[in-house]
Symmetry: D4
């Protein structure tokens, strides 16, 4: 069997260390994974438009410009990914995470959700279109290990 | 010019009368529109799985079954639509609305968002991929009139 | 809301009356559904090639010719369907039913499986890619009623 | 002419040594092939869901979880493959093999079936959509040698 | 079962009455078929460019203009067809018939070839990608009757 | 042969009567064509955003809003069209006409350009991807008559 | 996070040094970008057809041949690109730039426009479908740095 | 500008040295091209089925088996190619060459034809969908040099 590099996009929440925990777990497991993600520096993400394309006094258009620049990154990387992980935290509305899940679903790209049981009912459509729902980053590592190497922890 | 029937899918919030107001406005304007929507009866929607495919004691799987049955309707109708309107209200997390927007975006299907300015920053990615953001159902009617008949109110 | 005709393809087992029961239930429920199906006359289906394109002494090629002619019907109708129902009975191997399910899945077309619990483990991949698993034709009618009219039985 | 690495996915039966025989034959022939396959460790495959995402007492949902995790692997690798080989053995129902064939067919991806003549009639639809039907792993090696290097054995 | 109108495109040879014979047979059989075809008036087809878009003295460009105008018709109708019939006669090279077959094949659209056995070897690639090879227009009628109504002659 | 209604989208210049001349010619010829077009009322088109979605003081964003609302109409109708006609006049830059041509080309949708010879060199890429270049609206009518009925004028 | 090479296609104006400035800026920033572009040698581009495929006295067909050969390059590279930058200068009509933008938009490929504010109104449709509008090559570098590395200047 | 390897598939005639001449010319020009092609050993190609999958007495099915095995190679390589060259010689009917051209056209893949002027009228549809028509292998080399390096000979 060939050693294939898997491309995994880590979408969603940017206020906890879940990406780091997945990357650490994958590195320890020695899995051939190339991770990608949205920009996780919140202030940079908010200034993505005005910080590159110039000033804009109106907040709606400032956000609009920023979201456009961010989409260059996110849509390119989601299209290029083999698997997407979509994390929902307990704060903020995180509609972009659900948007990314719908985007992946329409492309026929498998994704896994990662969130606490408290969010289950609200996320039922998003979870249904996923290939699985994990509760911890470590479970995501286990899913990736199985998908890539066929081994259980 | 031919009179073409436009298929418009009304996604999102199910706790206010915004769909009715759009349908009323479109009827008054005499526009050739066939509307579709998710099931807006909240209890029916929650029981979509167990009410059709049988009992299920676990809430996670009950939701899972229901979301599958709902997806037969929603994904079929979104794929069949010319235009999607995505409404975000001020209550609940409404991740399915954002999911539908991402689904439409990946299919290259034009959509319009409908929400209050308070939600602008949280919805910036969803608004950016839309063809426009409306604040009232009447504005959506105006957009449809323009798109279909080329007339401003 | 518009009255849309739904196209439902009934794939799989041809040795019981499940199609008739679904069609009867849908008619009683007054749902706007146009059903399609593979040829369910088993001898005709087996002779589809030699009965149209000429004699063939070798059984492998006779089957090959017949399967080609049948595929004109089945692939056209599956591509044209909104929803597919895939029935697995308790006899025969029914690999064509599973093939049709995989074909629908790759096209992003929603389908529902219909089979007894005894087959659950063997059909787990096929069920996973479905939007739901029904046990009786009446449950399929309930799913269609819900998907089309948003009503529970 | 360039030396291109071919990606070949080996779908289906997991209870005999056919994959090993194809890989051995391809290595002896010196063909540039990278093989992929589903997880062939049957117990691991059955525990793919509960072994990664947590306990589940109900067998239907246990299978459902497992099939979801397996699908991350199988659908990713089938989409990434140039050619698929689909093996049907003489035991079990192997509906997932037929599902994979239908999935490949709908994607326009060429596949070869591998099975005994006893299964010909039952597999006629699956064979018809294939580019060829082999009886032995060695014949599959011959097909790959021809497709890749243009040489007959 | 619903009565669905099937769209059948009749590609290829324009020097014999095969289209008329298929249409007559289908009408006698009472099948719901809407036929389309390329322009079969040879002189008109040759003048399709200069007769509409203006004079052109060079024969290469005259053909080029004509083929462009013909393609508006042929590609639109092939894309809109459910099934394509591709006829190869015993005269001329008929490369456009083979081109249409390749075009249909890449779109995943089922087609049937119609030609004498003398052409079998030369047409083997074109026949292989077809769902069947007929020898007479009447056999094509039989295939359509079976595909549409599930009945053998 | 069936009478099929052809959907023709008339893109480009909005300052001369070319659309009317094509529609008149098609009506005189009795062709089954349903025409669609962008909004050709220039002031309405410029106000498409602010006239429906609310005030906007900045001209860049006013244009941005208007172009979004216009795109709901144009992209929907181009996707729904069988054939596109793209007109370039002698005034203005008409980049949206070239944009529509590129959009149609990437979708594999046949289009015809309509412009004077003075623009030939500047439009060479746009003309190359077209199925033909007409100089007068009457020539476009002739092309449509040929494509639909197979008759030369 | 993995270091991924981004493929960026630089479309449009060929009479100023904007491409060089973007490439210089990207090299200084150390970004992993592989740039592609149309042929920017204007005389070579005009002779692309006759310089390779032979003489042609008529200017329309000379342009036609040249545009065909150029399209081999441009369409291949646009399809292969992650991101497209489309530059409009203040001279010439540059319809090919707008054509490329429409082509990219229909493929769902993100692009950025680059032009002076004087062109804003004429380019509103092209800008609307873009992910952003830059005024200077340095802003494009900033957008690429952000999209690739998540850093603001 | 990056050095990108171009994948060029050489379809069609297998009885003259045109492929070798193109490969020689490309090597001399130092172009980064990886060539692929169908199997050009005529006897091997005719035995592709029986030489790999077993005996078959009937010539129709022998050809059918062979064409299936050949299609694994040809369709995989055409899908993977950036550019296709389609050669028509003066002997044989070469319908597979026209089939490959139609296949490439439907995929939106650019191709160049290579043939003598005597075949122009018969090949007009195939030439029309091409990006250019060459008369000699050296012209094809010139086209590739231009497409890849932007230089005329």
């Amino acid at each position: 069997m060939s050693e294939r590099e898997w491309r995994v996009y880590l979408a969603g929440e940017i206020h906890s260390d879940w990406r780091q925990r997945i990357e650490d777990g994958v590195r320890e497991a020695g899995l051939p994974v190339a991770f990608t993600a949205p920009v996780t520096d919140h202030p940079a993400s908010d200034d993505a438009g005005t910080g590159t394309l110039g000033e804009e006094p109106e907040s709606f258009w400032r956000d609009h410009m920023g979201a456009g620049v961010n989409a260059i990154r996110t849509q390119t990387l989601i299209r290029a990914a083999d698997v997407v992980v979509v994390r929902f935290g307990d704060k903020y509305r995180q509609w972009n995470a659900a948007f990314d899940a719908g985007f992946a679903a329409a492309l026929g790209k498998p994704y896994v959700t990662l969130h606490d049981p408290e969010l289950d009912h609200a996320l039922k459509e998003v979870d249904r279109a996923a290939q699985g729902t994990a509760r911890t980053p470590e479970q995501v590592v286990d899913v990736l290990r199985y998908a890539i190497e066929g081994k259980l922890p």
